[in-house]
Structures are given as structure tokens and as C-alpha cells.
């Protein structure tokens, strides 16, 4: 359990179990009893008319990551990594207020007046350009669902719930201008091969990515979930590099430089490797999924019907299939995918299940449109020639299958090696 979940215990004692994340299933009203009256009726509040808020009965919050790591904010107001409460997620969009936050190394949030903000595009282009926010909003725009996932999103056997094990990913609807539109406007010169993106945090973090990716599907986003990008997610402008590790998705974007070679600036140094395999796998996120309900820390109140539900995603494209096992991977059933699976977006999957009250191990497995299949820890260990050590690190972002064990008493536990 995270350190900062206010009022939950008190709240559960009050019997309003449905809205919380820890107990699955509703408290049944006694037969024939009339539905309860609301606790009270609330007068209209000017602030809530202007900008709404969730119910005071809904209490899921973000927590510092890794669990037990540095508090955010710390005594100096620095923000470190903060994970999203996926155990309470429904559908595919993470509310902006709960979207995970990654910071390069702990940072203060820049407060940027959008009227003053400028994006400069330069380097190996015919016409270097400076855009105001208003300029960008004149240009043809796109709106797309995309997940972002931090490379530190590594599940461990010690993690108690899905927020601790998988909370460093979120999915939002992003609106902005395709980076290719801006690069074409500037005119990319022959011989260009790389793009460096730079943000406005104190560290001026910079990441390099291939021009082919820049021309394909990257978004210079000013919108998030129907409103302006939130400050913690890069207001007023952030770059989306769909499917690449989180750190590439530069927040507070202020500069794009087109170059002929790999510049190895700041964030790139962390990706430096001597091994081809590790270098390649530290780039695009693999196929991945996790069951969010029932998941670690929750409890099934008794045998009977439950919908198994979770999220699947891949950096390689759209999710094409999700399989679910309730017997620790001995047999698999294809889950239903909610609506259209979008490319590089969280995709909700569901499978009806009847729990017989016996111990069960639940797993999900994602297959993407490229044909990549989410591996077990054992399969990765086998592939890298260390079958006796399945919990050793997975190269690149860990996308291995997450097992949840449902005990006979209905409690759900992390069953990772």
C-alpha cells in the first residue's frame, strides 16, 4: 500500500466498498430493502460549476515510485517518479490528474506562460522556424490515443499491487500537430538521420531519436484528454514518440534539432550499451499487458462470477489479441478486446470468469500487430541462456507476464518469481 491513500480504511469501514479498489464486488442489500437514501444533498458550489471534481468517496491517488523510494514532492519541492493507480482504472484513458509522472532525475516543474513559449525547429533544415503556441494551433492537427511507459516500470516479486508493479504507464488522448508536418514545413535536408528534442526543465533534458520515427507518427501535443496538457505532463507543449520508452517523450518541448549523426546528449547516455541486443531493446516498448481486476491487494468476497479485466499495449503497434489464463499458464482463453485497438495505446480486455473458490493463478498475454508475443519471465531467461535465473533483469523495458495468485480466502497476491 502506498503511503498516501487518505481515508481508505475508515472509508471501507463505512461500507462503501464499491468505489474503493481493495474489495471486488458489491455489498448486497438485504432482500426487499429499499435503495438507501443519499447521505445528504449538496448545494451547488461555484468552484465545482466552473471546474468539476470527483466524488469525495473516490479516493485513489498516485504514489511515489519505486515503492518506498523518494517522496514526491521532497522537502525542496522536487518531484520524482509517481505511479498511477491502475487497480482502480476502468476503460482505457488515464484521467489527467492520475497520469503517471516521470522526471529526469527529480526536478522542479517549470511554470511556462504559453504566450511566451516558443518552439524552435532547426539544424539540417532548409528553413529554421520558430512557432508560437498560436502558430501551432493554426496548423492541421491530429487527436490520438497513446500510452507512455517509463523504462523503470519493472514489476518485482516484492510489489504488493498493480500500482507498484505497473503504475509507471498511463494512456491519454493527445492532440497536436504531427512532427512530420513541422519538419516538412522546415524542409529536411538530404543526409539528415536523427532528431534531438529538448525540454525546458532545469536540466534541459535532451533525447535523440531516428528521423524515420519523427516522420512517421510523432505528435507535438498541446492537448491532453480534451484540455490543455497538464503542467506535470509538459504544459504547454510535449512531444509524443508513440511506443518509445517514456524518457523520449520530451516535456515542456522548446527545441527540435535535425542532425546527421547520433548526438549522444544527456538522456541518450543512459541508453549507451556495448551489447547490440540491449541497445535495441532499450528503445521501443514490447508487447505487454496486466490484469487490473482482480489484482494484487484486492479480495474476492466469495466464489461465483467475476469479470477479469486488464490493460494491454505495445510499442510496436496495435494490440491484436489478448489471452488470459486462470491456471498459471497451463491453458489460455482469448479475451474480448474493447472496441478498436488503437496503435500504441492501452487496450482494455475482458474475460468472464467463475471462481470456484480454489486457489487460482491469473495471467494475461498480449500479442501485437507485428506478431510479437508477451513472454513469461522463464521464456526471457531461456532466450538469454540463464534458465535457472528467471528473476534476473529483462533487457530493455520489462514486458514479462504478470501472475496474480487468488488464494482460497479470495485474497489476491503477486506471484512473480
Amino acid at each position: 500500500m502506498g503511503a498516501k491513500r487518505p481515508d481508505r480504511r475508515e472509508f471501507l469501514r463505512g461500507g462503501a466498498a464499491l468505489a474503493g479498489g481493495l474489495t471486488v464486488g458489491a455489498a448486497e442489500p438485504a432482500l426487499g430493502q429499499a435503495p438507501p437514501e443519499p447521505e445528504r444533498y449538496v448545494r451547488g458550489d461555484p468552484d465545482l460549476i466552473a471546474y468539476g471534481e470527483r466524488s469525495r468517496f473516490v479516493t485513489s491517488v498516485r504514489i511515489p515510485h519505486p515503492p518506498g523510494g523518494r517522496e514526491s514532492p521532497d522537502a525542496f519541492g522536487l518531484v520524482f517518479h509517481v505511479a498511477a493507480p491502475l487497480q482502480d482504472s476502468v476503460g482505457t484513458i488515464t484521467p489527467s490528474s492520475l497520469h503517471f509522472v516521470g522526471t529526469t532525475r527529480g526536478s522542479l516543474m517549470p511554470e511556462i506562460d504559453p504566450a511566451e513559449h516558443r518552439l524552435m525547429i532547426h539544424g539540417m533544415v532548409e528553413r529554421p522556424l520558430v512557432f508560437t503556441m498560436e502558430d501551432l494551433k493554426r496548423l492541421p492537427s491530429v487527436t490520438r490515443l497513446h500510452f507512455i511507459e517509463c523504462a523503470g516500470n519493472r514489476a518485482r516479486s516484492t510489489h504488493k499491487d498493480v500500482q507498484e508493479s505497473h503504475g509507471m504507464t498511463s494512456c491519454a488522448e493527445w492532440t497536436g500537430v504531427l512532427l512530420s508536418t513541422l519538419l516538412e514545413e522546415a524542409g529536411v535536408k538530404d543526409g539528415a538521420a536523427w532528431v534531438v528534442a529538448e525540454g525546458t526543465e532545469n536540466v534541459k533534458g535532451a533525447s535523440s531519436f531516428p528521423l524515420a520515427k519523427a516522420m512517421d507518427d510523432c505528435i507535438v501535443a498541446y492537448g491532453m484528454n480534451g484540455e490543455a496538457v497538464r503542467p506535470q505532463n509538459g504544459f504547454p507543449l510535449r512531444l509524443l514518440i508513440p511506443g518509445f520508452e517514456g524518457i523520449f517523450n520530451t516535456k515542456y518541448l522548446r527545441r527540435i534539432k535535425v542532425t546527421d549523426e547520433y548526438y549522444l546528449n544527456y538522456n541518450d547516455y543512459g541508453h549507451l550499451s556495448r551489447d547490440d541486443t540491449r541497445a535495441a531493446l532499450g528503445y521501443q516498448v514490447g508487447p505487454k499487458s496486466v490484469i487490473t481486476r482482480p489484482s494484487g491487494g484486492q479480495r474476492l468476497p466469495g466464489r461465483g462470477f467475476y469479470e477479469i479485466s486488464g490493460l494491454a499495449w505495445s510499442g510496436g503497434g496495435a494490440v491484436s489479441r489478448v489471452d488470459v489464463s486462470t491456471d498459471a499458464g497451463r491453458s489460455w482463453q482469448e479475451a474480448e478486446i474493447q472496441g478498436t485497438a488503437h496503435r500504441m495505446a492501452h487496450t482494455r480486455f475482458r474475460l468472464p470468469w467463475s471462481w470456484d473458490g480454489q486457489e487460482a493463478v491469473l495471467m494475461s498475454r498480449c500479442t501485437d500487430e507485428v506478431g510479437q508475443v508477451q513472454p513469461t519471465q522463464a521464456q526471457v531467461a531461456e532466450h538469454f541462456g540463464r534458465p535457472d535465473n528467471p528473476s534476473a533483469g529483462v533487457p530493455g523495458l520489462d514486458n514479462t507476464i504478470q501472475p496474480w495468485r487468488v488464494a482460497g480466502d479470495g485474497s489476491v497476491h503477486n506471484a512473480r518469481a
Partner: protein, 190 residues
Amino acid sequence: MRVLRPLALTMLLGATALAQGPTYGVGRAPTPEELRARDISIGPAGDELPPGSGTAEQGERIYRIRCAGCHGRELEGGRAPRRAPRLVKTEPGSDVDPWAAGRILPYRSPYATTVWDYINRGMPLYQEGSLTADQVYALTAFLLYRNEVIAEDLVLDAESLPKIEMPNRDGWAPLPDWQRLSPRLPGYPF
């Protein structure tokens, strides 16, 4: 890899949309001063390096005042809460394997320009951007000298810095040639 524009737009804007010219005419050209001031990305060729110079001896003096509090007097790194990494390899000798020497940026980095760029944009932590170009040259010289990459008396400037042959110049894995709908690593099914 150019994106095809909708036909109507092409007709609207006339032939210019098909040529290399801009399609929308939105945005303005930066001034040369803006470009110089904002372009802090230093590539391996060092083209963007500003005027200025510094030596290891000058760098050591700056290091004591601005860096040692976190990275340690002997560059040995600091403990929590600062947790600043070690900046000098543990083994003596100029032929130490950069991959065996730990994550020592001024030794493992393939380019000396990366060291300059890192200090210039990111250090000292929480006082970023407070060093002059001369100071960054001097600190780079000091860190490279202490890692036995350069001689003590080498004056670093925009000319000499990119010429430094780092021990890991060719010892790192190239990045994959990214393509749409390609697996992350050929032959890797996951």
C-alpha cells in the same frame, strides 16, 4: 518519407505545395542570435561549441568549489541524500576497459563533446546554466585528465575538444535502424 497531402489542399495552395517550399507559411525564421543562444546541443564534431578555453588545473579549482560537495573531493561520488555518481575510474592506466570501469561518464562516453554538453546543461545539479563556457571547458579538461584520457597541460577549446580520442570511441553498440511495424530486435519474438 513524405506524407501525401489531400488533393484539395494541393489545389488550393497551387503548385508550391508540391515543391520543396513551405505549405502553410506559419512560423517565422529565428534570428542568428536566437539560434546561437538556444542551440546548446553539442554534436560529436563540436560545431556548436562556443568560444572559450580551459585547462585541468583551472578545472580542479572550480571543481573544489562547485562540484566536490556532491561528487566528493577525490571524485569518488557522494552518498544519499545527494547520491552523486563517481566521476573517476577505479583502476589506474589508460587502457582500462570502459565497460569494466563503471558508469563513469568522462571515461566511458564515446565523445568528449558529450562530457561538455552534460556539464553545460545539467551541472551543478539545481544550479544548472550557471557555468561560463570557460568553466565548462576547464571542468571537462579536469575530468578527462583525472581519467587519464588527456595530458594535464592540454588546453581545451572548440578546436581541441572534438579531436580527443575517447577510449570507448568505437566500443558501443549501434542503435537499430527503426522502421514502422518492425519488431524491436530481429530474431527476438517478444
